[in-house]
């Protein structure tokens, strides 16, 4: 019998090691797995490389992980936010490395990593500062840049519901990076509001097939980043 459900975020994250590459889902607060991130802060792993579209807001979730000094490098498309000084402070003081990646290139690098594609060519960023140092090649008279697939040791993902085989469905625009990060990581950990038995999710609506998902953990009422920030919460 397959049962990918684990009892708590802490149990789900117990084996995250120092120096791990960790993908974190979310676009702004939508799809950000706050409870998993907070459990990772409690767990204590350091020198992490985080792959995520943004760098969090306020002093909760991803911003709190950064503030706790656990992250050596971020691979990110848009680290700037209106209401957080955590990333700017770390960046200006040279305490964090930034690999800035166009958003579509970031998504495709993650997808490629999970799909067994070591590199690909994209037209995005040709002729811009982000093309510096990259291999380029012309196809059919147009120039493209070579980009490498991205793989992670762990992915922290927020879904809506999962079954115990690891099949996951998402909620609206909170889907964003979740499905590709599940593919692109060795160990994909998904927090969902409800874990159900195999058979209770219609196979026609499964978004992340269970083969990409290693652990599911129930967080029945996940916090929303904007509400925590508005309430002035600072984690831990």
């Amino acid at each position: 019998m397959i049962n990918k459900q684990v009892s708590s975020p802490a149990e789900a994250l117990a084996d995250v090691f120092d120096g791990a590459v960790v993908m974190v889902s979310g676009f702004g607060e939508a799809g950000s797995p706050i409870e998993l991130i907070h459990a990772l802060i409690d767990q204590g792993a350091r020198e992490l490389t985080v792959v995520s579209n943004n760098c969090g807001s306020g002093e909760v979730g991803l911003a709190a992980l950064l503030k706790a000094g656990r992250v050596r490098k971020v691979v990110c498309s848009f680290p700037r936010t209106a209401n957080s000084t955590v990333f700017p402070d770390l960046y200006h003081s040279g305490k964090i490395e930034l690999e800035l990646v166009p958003q579509g290139t970031l998504a495709e690098r993650i997808r490629a990593g999970g799909a067994g594609i070591p590199a690909f060519y994209t037209p995005a960023a040709v002729g811009t500062p982000l093309a510096e140092g990259k291999e380029s090649r012309d196809f059919d008279g147009k120039t493209y840049l070579m980009e490498r697939g991205l793989k992670a040791d762990f992915a922290l993902i927020k879904g809506k519901a999962a079954d115990n085989h690891g099949n996951v469905i998402y909620n609206k625009t909170a889907r964003n990076f979740g499905p590709i990060m599940a593919m692109g990581s060795k160990t994909a950990i998904v927090q969902v509001e409800e874990v159900v038995s195999a058979g209770e999710i219609d196979p026609e609506v499964v978004v992340s097939p269970g083969i990409f998902v290693d652990r599911v953990v129930e967080v029945a009422q996940p916090a929303h980043e904007s509400e925590l920030v508005a309430a002035g919460v600072s984690y831990p």
């Binding site: 799809g31 680290p79 700037r80 990333f87 930034l98 800035l100 166009p102 889907r175 590709i180 978004v207």
Partner: protein, 220 residues
Amino acid sequence: MTQQVEQIGRTREEMAQRLAQDIPNGSYVNLGIGIPELVARFVPEGRTLIYHTENGLLGMGPSPEEGEGDPELINAGKRHVTANPGAAFFHHADSFSMIRGGHIDLCVLGAMQVSQHGDLANWSTGAPDSIPAVGGAMDLCAGVKSVYVITQHTTKQGEPKLVERCTYPLTGVGVITRVYTDLAVIDVTPEGFKVAELSPGVDYDYVQQRTGAPLIPHNA
């Protein structure tokens, strides 16, 4: 003492309304953050446009009533939106396949600078103390069939945004075909900037004085 500031050229809303007239019925459209977002308010009667937001929604609808927003239903500017009947959600790699794969008909972006060759700079001033953040603009420039810019003609300090050569870091090279400003609608042609239309009450010399590159008159 209150002073009436005279509006010269189009307001932001009027710029958005003017641009919306030029979008064909049935187009798939991606709107950038800022003035581009206003375009959605002014779709002409009888036309249906399908809005794409790169964080995973096709068929984006208007903002919900205050207090009705869902934190998991947002646009690329991270503001609450709604999903229209016929909408679809998808993950980021699919979303950027729509963009890079040439499936989106039109993208409307804001600008810091546009060059007479259609180069766009809109993500960084290159200042050493700024936090670099690029988002999806480079992918949109590289893959969408037509990329329009909507922007004030000059910066708040009065510096031209339409220039011979961008001095800020580029977002895309030779990608912009049309620019809608408060003062004019301007095409980017192989010969350079060409006035397609002056805003009501604005004359050619006024626009040329505020443009950092030669401007071919409308009738030339």
